[in-house]
Protein backbone atom coordinates (compact mmCIF):
# COMPACT_ATOMS: atom_id res chain seq x y z
CA UNK A 1 0.00 0.00 0.00
CA UNK A 2 1.44 3.35 -1.00
CA UNK A 3 0.75 6.67 0.67
CA UNK A 4 1.72 9.97 -0.83
CA UNK A 5 2.55 12.93 1.31
CA UNK A 6 3.38 16.45 0.37
CA UNK A 7 5.50 18.44 2.78
CA UNK A 8 5.11 22.11 2.02
CA UNK A 9 7.81 24.43 3.27
CA UNK A 10 6.75 28.03 3.43
CA UNK A 11 8.41 31.06 4.90
CA UNK A 12 5.68 32.46 7.10
CA UNK A 13 5.14 33.89 10.55
CA UNK A 14 1.70 32.37 10.54
CA UNK A 15 1.48 28.69 11.45
CA UNK A 16 -1.85 27.96 9.86
CA UNK A 17 -1.84 28.91 6.20
CA UNK A 18 -5.10 29.18 4.37
CA UNK A 19 -5.39 26.36 1.86
CA UNK A 20 -9.06 26.80 1.11
CA UNK A 21 -10.20 23.85 3.18
CA UNK A 22 -11.60 23.57 6.71
CA UNK A 23 -9.84 21.55 9.34
CA UNK A 24 -10.39 20.16 12.78
CA UNK A 25 -7.46 19.70 15.11
CA UNK A 26 -7.21 16.30 16.69
CA UNK A 27 -3.85 16.26 18.34
CA UNK A 28 -0.68 17.96 19.33
CA UNK A 29 2.54 16.57 20.58
CA UNK A 30 6.08 17.72 21.19
CA UNK A 31 8.72 16.59 18.78
CA UNK A 32 12.33 15.64 19.38
CA UNK A 33 14.93 18.30 18.47
CA UNK A 34 12.29 20.96 17.99
CA UNK A 35 11.05 23.46 20.53
CA UNK A 36 7.75 23.78 18.68
CA UNK A 37 5.03 21.13 18.93
CA UNK A 38 3.45 19.43 15.97
CA UNK A 39 -0.29 19.84 15.45
CA UNK A 40 -2.50 17.33 13.68
CA UNK A 41 -5.57 18.21 11.64
CA UNK A 42 -8.22 16.35 9.74
CA UNK A 43 -10.34 17.76 6.93
CA UNK A 44 -13.70 18.53 8.47
CA UNK A 45 -15.70 17.74 5.35
CA UNK A 46 -17.82 14.68 6.04
CA UNK A 47 -16.36 11.57 4.46
CA UNK A 48 -13.09 13.20 3.47
CA UNK A 49 -10.02 11.68 5.08
CA UNK A 50 -7.27 14.12 4.24
CA UNK A 51 -4.92 14.88 7.10
CA UNK A 52 -2.30 17.50 7.65
CA UNK A 53 0.38 18.25 10.17
CA UNK A 54 1.77 21.65 10.97
CA UNK A 55 5.16 22.22 12.46
CA UNK A 56 7.92 24.77 12.55
CA UNK A 57 11.04 23.71 10.73
CA UNK A 58 13.62 22.34 13.13
CA UNK A 59 16.50 24.17 11.47
CA UNK A 60 14.80 27.40 10.40
CA UNK A 61 12.12 28.84 12.64
CA UNK A 62 10.86 31.16 9.95
CA UNK A 63 9.69 28.22 7.90
CA UNK A 64 6.50 26.38 8.64
CA UNK A 65 6.17 22.82 7.33
CA UNK A 66 2.68 21.73 6.39
CA UNK A 67 2.46 18.06 5.48
CA UNK A 68 -0.61 16.77 3.66
CA UNK A 69 -1.65 13.19 3.19
CA UNK A 70 -4.48 12.11 0.94
CA UNK A 71 -6.71 13.64 -1.69
CA UNK A 72 -9.91 15.49 -0.94
CA UNK A 73 -13.11 13.77 -1.96
CA UNK A 74 -14.92 17.06 -2.48
CA UNK A 75 -14.31 20.35 -4.27
CA UNK A 76 -13.09 23.43 -2.49
CA UNK A 77 -15.85 25.45 -0.97
CA UNK A 78 -16.48 28.60 -2.94
CA UNK A 79 -16.03 31.08 -0.15
CA UNK A 80 -16.55 34.72 -0.75
CA UNK A 81 -12.93 35.47 -1.42
CA UNK A 82 -12.71 39.19 -1.40
CA UNK A 83 -12.30 40.81 -4.75
CA UNK A 84 -9.22 42.61 -3.53
CA UNK A 85 -7.66 39.29 -2.69
CA UNK A 86 -8.31 37.96 -6.15
CA UNK A 87 -6.90 41.08 -7.70
CA UNK A 88 -3.87 40.98 -5.47
CA UNK A 89 -3.20 37.43 -6.65
CA UNK A 90 -3.67 38.50 -10.21
CA UNK A 91 -1.33 41.42 -9.75
CA UNK A 92 1.36 39.06 -8.58
CA UNK A 93 0.52 36.69 -11.43
CA UNK A 94 0.93 39.42 -14.01
CA UNK A 95 4.33 40.26 -12.55
CA UNK A 96 5.50 36.79 -13.46
CA UNK A 97 4.56 37.22 -17.09
Amino acid sequence: MKHRRFAFQTRSQVDILDDGYRWRKYGEKSVKNNKFPRSYYRCSYRGCNVKKQIQRHSKDEEIVVTTYEGTHSHPVEKTSESFEQILRNHHIYSLTL
Partner: protein, 87 residues
Protein backbone atom coordinates in the same frame (compact mmCIF):
# COMPACT_ATOMS: atom_id res chain seq x y z
CA UNK B 1 5.31 -17.41 24.99
CA UNK B 2 5.86 -20.82 23.56
CA UNK B 3 8.63 -21.30 21.03
CA UNK B 4 7.67 -21.51 17.44
CA UNK B 5 5.89 -18.86 15.48
CA UNK B 6 2.48 -17.46 16.21
CA UNK B 7 0.24 -16.60 13.36
CA UNK B 8 -0.87 -13.02 13.01
CA UNK B 9 -1.96 -12.95 9.43
CA UNK B 10 -0.13 -11.39 6.48
CA UNK B 11 2.17 -8.48 7.25
CA UNK B 12 0.97 -5.13 5.98
CA UNK B 13 3.62 -2.90 4.54
CA UNK B 14 2.90 0.78 4.05
CA UNK B 15 5.24 2.81 1.87
CA UNK B 16 5.09 6.52 2.53
CA UNK B 17 6.49 8.76 -0.17
CA UNK B 18 7.04 12.32 0.92
CA UNK B 19 7.50 14.93 -1.73
CA UNK B 20 8.91 18.26 -0.59
CA UNK B 21 7.40 21.40 -2.00
CA UNK B 22 8.60 24.92 -1.46
CA UNK B 23 6.14 27.73 -1.95
CA UNK B 24 5.75 31.29 -0.83
CA UNK B 25 2.77 32.24 1.26
CA UNK B 26 0.86 33.67 -1.67
CA UNK B 27 0.96 30.66 -3.94
CA UNK B 28 0.55 28.20 -1.08
CA UNK B 29 -3.20 27.87 -1.45
CA UNK B 30 -3.26 27.17 -5.16
CA UNK B 31 -0.41 24.67 -5.07
CA UNK B 32 -1.95 22.80 -2.15
CA UNK B 33 -5.23 22.55 -4.01
CA UNK B 34 -3.45 21.45 -7.11
CA UNK B 35 -1.72 18.58 -5.34
CA UNK B 36 -4.34 17.49 -2.81
CA UNK B 37 -7.57 18.68 -4.38
CA UNK B 38 -10.29 16.49 -5.72
CA UNK B 39 -9.23 16.72 -9.33
CA UNK B 40 -5.56 16.29 -8.68
CA UNK B 41 -3.74 14.02 -11.06
CA UNK B 42 -2.07 11.26 -9.07
CA UNK B 43 0.91 11.31 -11.36
CA UNK B 44 1.79 14.79 -10.18
CA UNK B 45 1.60 18.34 -11.47
CA UNK B 46 4.17 17.89 -14.23
CA UNK B 47 2.00 15.42 -16.10
CA UNK B 48 -0.99 17.71 -16.00
CA UNK B 49 -1.75 19.81 -18.97
CA UNK B 50 -3.36 23.17 -18.36
CA UNK B 51 -6.99 23.01 -19.45
CA UNK B 52 -6.97 26.60 -20.51
CA UNK B 53 -3.60 26.54 -22.13
CA UNK B 54 -4.09 28.42 -25.36
CA UNK B 55 -0.76 27.26 -26.69
CA UNK B 56 1.27 29.50 -24.43
CA UNK B 57 3.94 28.20 -22.09
CA UNK B 58 3.00 27.05 -18.61
CA UNK B 59 3.28 29.82 -16.11
CA UNK B 60 2.77 30.04 -12.41
CA UNK B 61 0.08 28.18 -10.59
CA UNK B 62 -1.75 31.36 -9.76
CA UNK B 63 -5.04 31.93 -11.51
CA UNK B 64 -4.41 28.94 -13.73
CA UNK B 65 -7.85 27.45 -13.35
CA UNK B 66 -9.72 30.66 -13.88
CA UNK B 67 -11.57 30.38 -17.14
CA UNK B 68 -11.74 33.34 -19.44
CA UNK B 69 -15.45 33.68 -18.75
CA UNK B 70 -14.83 34.04 -15.03
CA UNK B 71 -12.03 36.45 -15.64
CA UNK B 72 -14.30 38.56 -17.85
CA UNK B 73 -16.86 38.65 -15.10
CA UNK B 74 -14.24 39.74 -12.62
CA UNK B 75 -13.16 42.59 -14.83
CA UNK B 76 -16.71 43.73 -15.43
CA UNK B 77 -17.48 43.75 -11.71
CA UNK B 78 -14.36 45.64 -10.82
CA UNK B 79 -14.83 48.62 -8.54
CA UNK B 80 -13.33 51.95 -9.56
CA UNK B 81 -9.54 51.86 -9.63
CA UNK B 82 -9.22 54.56 -7.00
CA UNK B 83 -11.05 52.44 -4.48
CA UNK B 84 -8.70 49.56 -5.01
CA UNK B 85 -5.46 51.21 -4.29
CA UNK B 86 -6.58 53.40 -1.41
CA UNK B 87 -4.07 53.46 1.41
Amino acid sequence: MATGGYSRGPVKVVIINTQYVETDATSFKSVVQKLTGKDSDTSGPKAQRNRHDKGGTERSFLMRDLSFKEFDRLLREMPPINDLWAE
